[in-house]
């Protein structure tokens, strides 16, 4: 009898773990479904592919969802985060999503490889990429890179480095390129002389790390910062991309595009005027950063977008040409360039963003002339 009780216990425990597992499954179902109930049947379903996990870099899109701006335009937008292996422009070219957020030089490479995509809104007007070195190092400009260990994330995030170096007459063989991780540990531990950092993320990671010598957080005085925006290597970053063929042939998609951009503009306007709330919305949408880091990120992202003299998202032809030139001149450590010929004229258009701005009229301040960033105090670990 003893055996059968033990076996019964085991069967019970197995059933319990199976039930737990099924419960976990079904609960993940539920979380995936919220939102789809909210929309009526008139709403057009739209999928937006981000280029990374949810974070303040995308606060405007989350704000547009949370505040119902998309619904006001008759859209039901699903924001799809990316992970390590999901390339936004590939997902768009495959037809998995309707719009994608991606950096311009990366997509130019995909376009040359055959993807048919169009930049419909250049949300980030400025480059947010930095190269950070220690204040007591002798690296204070791109020309000083020669012979140094230069950090980069690779995966198409490195082209500004090589374009800026090319302008200084340096090629990639004169430096040692070291692939960076998700964090700044390699730089902090001295494996990298100058690390790649985004103003809105990795630079903040440094400022929220305690200096082991003093026990206090590092400050801006501890670092030399080279901003690629100040170099000829500067390239356009977060842009909204659409499917070129559908833009040309599908009237409904054209209308959806304008409606989508109108809501996006309102979302970014909200993030500009209410960075704290936009930060909370992003955290609620699944971002894992601590509150001070998230707020820093929203604030720095605002600086890349606003002010936008020609209107948010309008592509500045000079900046576009500079990006193309940089992409043509950049050569990485294995001798590859992102593009070898000029992109086709279908690669960008201001038609839809200008229409969206015009339709919004005075309702929305689309230039942000009076924009002033806030002061954000970073706490240890970004908390």
């Amino acid at each position: 009898m003893k055996h059968s009780t033990r076996r019964g216990l085991a069967a019970g425990a197995f059933a319990l773990s199976a039930a737990l597992v099924l419960a976990a499954c079904s609960s993940s179902d539920d979380s995936g479904d919220t939102g789809s109930d909210a929309g009526g049947d008139e709403l057009t379903e739209v999928k937006l592919q981000l280029q990374w996990l949810p974070q303040g870099q995308f606060a405007g899109y989350f704000a547009a969802v949370e505040n119902g701006y998309f619904e006001e335009e008759g859209l039901e937008v699903e924001i799809i985060p990316s992970g390590g292996d999901i390339v936004p422009q590939d997902a768009l070219a495959n037809g998995d999503v309707d719009y994608a957020i991606a950096w311009v030089p990366k997509v130019l490479g995909s376009i040359e490889a055959g993807a048919n995509l169009t930049n419909i809104a250049q949300i980030f007007q400025r480059s947010g990429t930095l190269q950070v070195s220690w204040a007591d190092s002798d690296i204070s400009s791109v020309a000083d890179f020669e012979g140094k260990k230069i950090g980069s994330w690779g995966f198409g995030n490195e082209w500004e480095i090589f374009a800026a170096m090319a302008a200084e007459g340096l090629d990639s063989s004169t430096v040692e390129i070291i692939t960076q991780d998700f964090n700044m540990n390699a730089f902090l531990q001295g494996d990298i002389d100058a690390a790649q950092a985004m103003t809105y993320n990795e630079y903040a990671q440094l400022l929220e790390t305690p200096n082991p010598d003093t026990g206090e957080l590092y400050t801006a005085d501890d670092f030399n910062v080279i901003s690629y925006q100040d170099t000829v290597g500067a390239m356009l970053q977060d842009a909204i991309w659409a499917d070129t063929e559908r833009l040309e042939s599908d009237v409904e998609y054209q209308e959806t595009t304008v409606a989508f951009l109108k809501a996006v503009i309102k979302g970014w306007e909200f993030a500009r005027d209410n960075p704290e709330e936009a930060s909370s919305i992003t955290i609620a949408a699944g971002s894992g950063w601590g509150p001070s880091h998230e707020l820093w990120m929203v604030n720095e992202t605002n600086k890349l977008i606003w002010p936008a003299p020609a209107g948010i998202g309008v592509i500045d032809e000079a900046a576009w040409d500079q990006t193309v030139e940089g992409a043509l001149s950049a050569v990485n450590e294995v001798g590859a360039s992102p593009i070898t010929t000029e992109p086709p004229s279908t690669a960008w258009t201001n038609e839809y963003i200008e229409q969206a701005i015009a339709e919004l009229g005075d309702e929305v301040d689309t230039t942000g002339d009076s924009f002033e960033p806030i002061e954000v105090e970073l706490l240890e670990g970004g908390n």
């Binding site: 976990a24 609960s27 979380s31 990374w52 390590g84 964090n183 240890e380």
Partner: protein
């Protein structure tokens, strides 16, 4: 009545098949004293403590910059950034994830994420079991199928996940049959099943083929058909092969689920927390270790569940064979 006799004989045959050379008398091993059971737990805990002690000893004794041979670092740095103290990592588990109002305690966040991943891995494992055993049955039944399928099954495991994950997600996003819509977690479960089915297929095939000719011929003399032979002889005989295969499959499913979560950025699971917290490792080094511990516990729970399955099937597992 003849039916029961036949069944009894068949079971005997199966047990004889499962126990080449007859195992030690049943009961002797089963009645393990409580003391030995406790000793196993003590040793298990001691093993974990030993790892912690070695960690701290190394951190204390080794140079901060690690051990280098020439330019190559052969042993890691010992700074707090690279190797946080064990107590710091444990203490971090008890603190909230972030300062945000309503943030969970870290260990709870990890546990919830691990549960989500466990669910996905279990779904993947179940699919892997069905597919794996199905393939094994086909291959056992027809020699030609074995020759034709087995190479493909092996080739399937050489496809790198990095290439596989976006394709699965892309296909999945197009699947919409009536009210059924493909969910993102299903892509992850599919990848988990892809890793899980392999050891199960191979182990099940070996198990189903394990009865000696003498046993199959005995079944023939009983005039037992294919299905009777399968259920009375082959399945019971396959149990000792199947259990380790199922355990391997469970471990693979967990790894597949975690990697696929990282790959596709699926929200809610432990893989997502791994990359999320890795990005916070500069300012909060101890936090990045929490999802790693979560993944370890997850693997143990998955393997442990199979051990429970083994207890249920213990009549058939006198001898365990590695897959």
């Amino acid at each position: 009545m003849t039916g029961t006799l036949q069944e009894q004989q068949a079971t005997d045959a199966a047990q004889a098949a499962a126990v080449p050379g007859r195992a030690p008398a049943p009961g002797g091993r089963r009645r393990r004293s409580g003391g030995r059971q406790a000793a196993r737990w003590v040793w298990g805990v001691a093993g974990i403590l030993l790892v912690a002690v070695v960690w701290e000893l190394y951190k204390w004794l080794a140079p901060a910059d690690g051990v280098l041979i020439g330019e190559t670092r052969v042993l890691p740095r010992t700074t707090d950034l690279a190797m946080p103290h064990v107590w710091d990592m444990l203490a971090r588990l008890g603190e909230p994830v972030t300062r945000a109002p309503g943030a969970n305690v870290l260990w709870l966040e990890i546990a919830l994420a691990a549960l989500v991943t466990l669910g996905i891995a279990a779904a993947g494992w179940l699919v892997g079991v069905i597919v794996g055993i199905g393939l094994a049955l086909v291959m056992q039944r027809w020699r030609l199928a074995e020759w034709g399928l087995l190479p493909w099954i092996i080739v399937s495991q050489t496809v790198p996940l990095i290439a596989f994950a976006p394709v699965v997600r892309s296909w999945g996003s197009r699947v919409e049959i009536g009210a059924f819509e493909w969910q993102d977690w299903m892509s992850v479960a599919l990848i988990a099943s892809y890793l899980a089915f392999f050891p199960i297929a191979v182990g099940a095939l070996k198990g189903l083929q394990s009865p000696d000719r003498i046993h199959t011929e005995l079944m023939k003399t009983y005039a037992a058909g294919y299905w009777q032979t399968l259920f009375r002889l082959r399945f019971p005989a396959a149990v000792p092969y199947l259990l380790p295969a199922l355990r391997l499959g469970a471990a693979n499913a967990v790894i597949g689920a975690v990697v696929a979560e990282v790959s596709t950025g699926l929200q809610g699971g432990i893989g997502r927390l791994l990359i999320q917290f890795a990005g916070q490792a500069s300012g909060d080094p101890a936090k990045a270790w929490a999802p790693i511990f979560g993944a370890i516990v997850l693997g143990l729970v998955a393997a442990g569940s199979i051990a429970l399955l083994g207890v249920i099937l213990k009549n058939y597992r006198r001898v365990e064979v590695t897959a």
